[in-house]
């Protein structure tokens, strides 16, 4: 939940850099969620959203289904998750144990300039639990976040609601944010099968 003295997104990201599981795949929502993460920890296994607000969580769910042996971490915002709250229900139903949802709760639409949310004070962890995700909790400090990242108890997805102060000043990412490049770089890094066109006798996905 939003409280008075809140850490920054960067404070949490510093912890995430240090606690990122081996072979983790990271999906980041639009705006600074992606720009700052690219500035602090760019790697091919990052999938950066450019826009498509509210769709980072369901995309990460799909990725977790397709890559069950790899940890998948998604950074989503409170405004974004309110746009597609049904995705929490689907995450609860699928219950992927390899999915960690980091839900930045800053009470505003930070990526579009800081407009207030319809309701900035929801207990999003309680909301996630009600949606069928028992491993959901509110986190208010980087230290508590570090501890939570090391806690692997329980089944299904892990939702950590990170109380943060808004960061509306746009971070300049150090890399090109070309969507198709992002996708191909990511798929190459994870060894995703390649589609072979029909004119080469394919028409199927085949191991690269």
């Amino acid at each position: 939940m939003v409280n008075a003295a809140r850490p920054s997104r960067a404070d949490y990201y510093e912890v995430l850099v240090d606690t990122l599981p081996e072979h983790a795949l990271v999906v980041t929502s639009l705006g600074n969620a992606s720009y700052l993460w690219a500035a602090m920890h760019h790697r091919p296994e990052n999938f950066y959203f450019e826009d498509a607000m509210g769709l980072a969580l369901p995309l990460a769910l799909g990725l977790a289904i397709a890559q069950p042996r790899r940890p998948v971490i998604v950074v989503e915002g409170d405004g974004a998750v309110l746009m597609h709250m049904g995705a929490l229900v689907t995450v609860g139903a699928v219950a992927p144990g390899n999915l960690t949802v980091l839900l930045i709760q800053n009470g505003v639409h930070a990526a579009s300039g800081g407009q207030p949310l319809t309701n900035a004070n929801l207990d999003l962890a309680e909301l996630a639990r009600s949606a069928g995700i028992p491993r959901a909790r509110n986190v208010a400090t980087p230290e508590a976040f570090a501890s939570a990242m090391g806690d692997h108890e329980g089944a299904g997805a892990n939702v950590l609601v990170l109380s943060a102060k808004p960061d509306t000043e746009v971070v300049r990412p150090p890399i090109a944010f070309d969507p198709v490049l992002t996708k191909h770089r990511f798929m190459s890094a994870i060894g995703a099968p390649r589609y072979v066109p029909t004119m080469f006798g394919g028409g199927r996905l085949q191991p690269d």
Partner: protein, 175 residues
Amino acid sequence: MVASGKQSADPHRPSEILETLKRLGFGVAIAVPDSWLGEILVRIEHEPTMRLVRATHEEEALAIACGTRLGGLRTAMFVQNAGLLSMGAGVVSLAQRYQFPILMLVSYRGTVEDPVFYHTPKGRVTEPVLRGLGLAYARSDRTRPIGPQVERAATYAEEASCPFALLLSQEDVQW
């Protein structure tokens, strides 16, 4: 129309759709049901080589589909055309922008063959909206086998690196 092979009467068109998906290596289907789609989704749920994910909204389903395809699974979606109308932002900002090849199998409600009157508003606007979105699509041809039409739609999606919607009639998809 999607061109296809010789003309013949399909024994059971929904079975042909499912068999084609399995033969082409589709590992997952993401769905939001309607009355025509209900049973084929149950059949997919019982397929050992496929997984069904039931989403709460079609734009959410599209994002899940992009995620499974990103992770290396050939992915189909089953939605009603109402879902195409409500997923426009996700189509342009995610699926098309990142060039995700997603096969959309769509129950095409509100055409003159549909007996349910309240679907007609969606039937009237579906194809103009798809053209406005630049979303590649075709209507199935009921005089030809459905399997090859599904295969060509799937091939188009992969080889043009984009989502492709195949608009299906009741007899195509209702089990």
